[in-house]
């Protein structure tokens, strides 16, 4: 029995302090792409910061999406599993297909001010239980509402990992039993 089906949201912040190779690449490439795309909304270079462009130019919110293509290649290299969050075997395990880049701040005159978040949302997960500050989950959502054995993982609660959505499954098991016997 599970409490529900949830999706987790991992918010990966990347800025000038990036250390890992892919984070540095994502930082540099997203800044370059920002400089290129921002010219669509700031032809006369009237503004220097992203927030100024956003506040003054209609449609400039598209820059989040337009810049996101610069990091798609790096995200593909995660092979469909959220980075950084690993299980006790040391492997990444949270499957995802959706993510979204958000420009937190940037400045066309100063790369050091460039800061982005890559928000990655997991595929649906079975939330089985909560143990202390840990969630017991399973990726085998197809077994929700059954009494079959599911493989589980433990995730420790952490500041950049949030529960993004929830769908109750409590009654699924009873529902399935009802269908079976009546």
């Amino acid at each position: 029995m599970s409490k529900g089906i949830i999706r987790l949201l991992y918010r990966k912040i990347i800025d000038a302090s990036a250390v890992k190779a892919w984070e540095k690449c994502a930082f540099n490439d997203s800044y370059t792409e920002f400089l290129m795309q921002a010219q669509l909304y700031n032809k006369e270079k009237k503004y220097t910061t992203f927030s100024e462009i956003l506040a003054n130019v209609p449609g400039a919110e598209k820059l989040h999406f337009l810049v996101s293509a610069s990091v798609t290649g790096y995200i593909k290299q995660f092979n469909g599993f959220i980075p950084d969050i690993i299980n006790t075997a040391g492997k990444t395990f949270l499957p995802f297909k959706q993510c979204r880049l958000e420009i937190i701040q940037s400045d066309i005159t100063n790369a050091a001010k460039h800061r982005i978040a890559i928000n990655i949302i997991t595929e649906p997960l079975l939330w089985l239980d909560t143990i202390g500050n840990m969630l017991l989950i399973s990726t085998e959502t197809g077994k929700a509402g059954t009494q079959e054995e599911v493989l589980t993982e433990i995730i420790t609660s952490q500041s950049q990992l949030n529960i993004h959505s929830f769908k109750q499954t409590e009654n699924l098991w009873y529902h399935n039993q009802t269908e079976k016997y009546f």
């Binding site: 890992k20 190779a21 892919w22 690449c25 490439d29 370059t32 792409e33 400089l35 290129m36 010219q39 669509l40 032809k43 919110e61 598209k62 989040h64 999406f65 996101s68 293509a69 610069s70 798609t72 290649g73 790096y74 995200i75 593909k76 290299q77 995660f78 980075p83 950084d84 969050i85 690993i86 040391g90 492997k91 990444t92 297909k97 959706q98 993510c99 979204r100 958000e102 949302i121 420790t156 609660s157 952490q158 500041s159 950049q160």
Partner: protein, 239 residues
């Protein structure tokens, strides 16, 4: 906070030596513990161990590709754009970056409202930039994209957006390319992906963008629905 280091945890630092000695078939040297600094003349040298990071590859923007279809259905369209320089006797401009983007057969762009806190798109991120691409001009000033014939949306004539940059990414020109009306009429009334949407509601001559500039923005389009179309157009920039 509990962010674990995914790179180190993968344990990829361990490289197992594989026997590949030269000219020693049939001999055994299983006790060898040769490391990367081996200087033995009759054995090969172990490849140096490097940082384990699984994601070190420098990767270009996903815009950089010739085929921008990404699973969108429609009549094939080859887009050939030549960039010329008005500051150099209209000669071809090599190494310019050319971005293009256009809508689907039924008039949608690969964009979604992307404000923080907003909802997620329903498209898998790996194909979310469909019908958008970037190429670099060759010595003839030419870039070629493989795409589909764009549809149209209310209030605008059919068009392709173009943004030309110099090789260092400085914007040279933002413009649009218009389509011959007769070709649009054929595609929009007979091709299966377009028929239900019908013909465009805005003529080139009535379009807010093209009405005063059609002489420099109207492309040449040849072909047919079965084999696809080829669009050719020259864009003049001041570089």
């Amino acid at each position: 906070m509990f962010l674990q280091n995914g790179l180190a945890a993968l344990g990829l630092g361990l490289i197992v030596p594989i026997a590949c000695k030269k000219d020693t078939a049939g001999t055994t040297s299983g006790t060898s513990t040769t490391t990367g600094s081996s200087s033995s003349s009759d054995s090969c040298t172990l490849t140096d161990t490097e940082t384990a990071g699984p994601y070190p590859t420098k990767t270009p923007s996903s815009y950089v590709r010739s085929n921008i279809v990404d699973g969108q259905s429609g009549v094939p369209l080859t887009i050939k754009i030549t960039i010329c320089n008005t500051n150099n006797s209209c000669a071809a401009l090599a190494n310019a970056l050319v971005d293009i983007w256009h809508c689907t057969a039924v008039g949608y762009y690969s964009e979604y409202t992307d404000t923080p806190g907003g909802r997620y798109g329903t498209v898998d991120y790996t194909s979310s930039h469909f019908l958008r691409g970037r190429q670099t001009t060759d010595s003839s000033g030419l870039v070629i994209f493989t795409s589909i014939f764009p549809g149209w949306y209310s209030g605008r004539a059919p068009h392709i957006h173009v943004h030309v940059y110099n090789s260092s990414g400085t914007s040279l020109l933002v413009t649009q390319i218009a389509f011959p009306t007769d070709v649009c009429n054929t595609v929009y009334t007979t091709a299966s992906d377009y028929k239900a949407h019908g013909t465009q509601d805005t003529a080139n001559t009535a379009d807010s963008v093209f009405s005063d500039s059609l002489d420099t923005e109207l492309s040449s389009v040849t072909g047919n629905i079965t084999d696809g179309y080829v669009l050719t157009h020259t864009v003049y920039v001041s570089a």
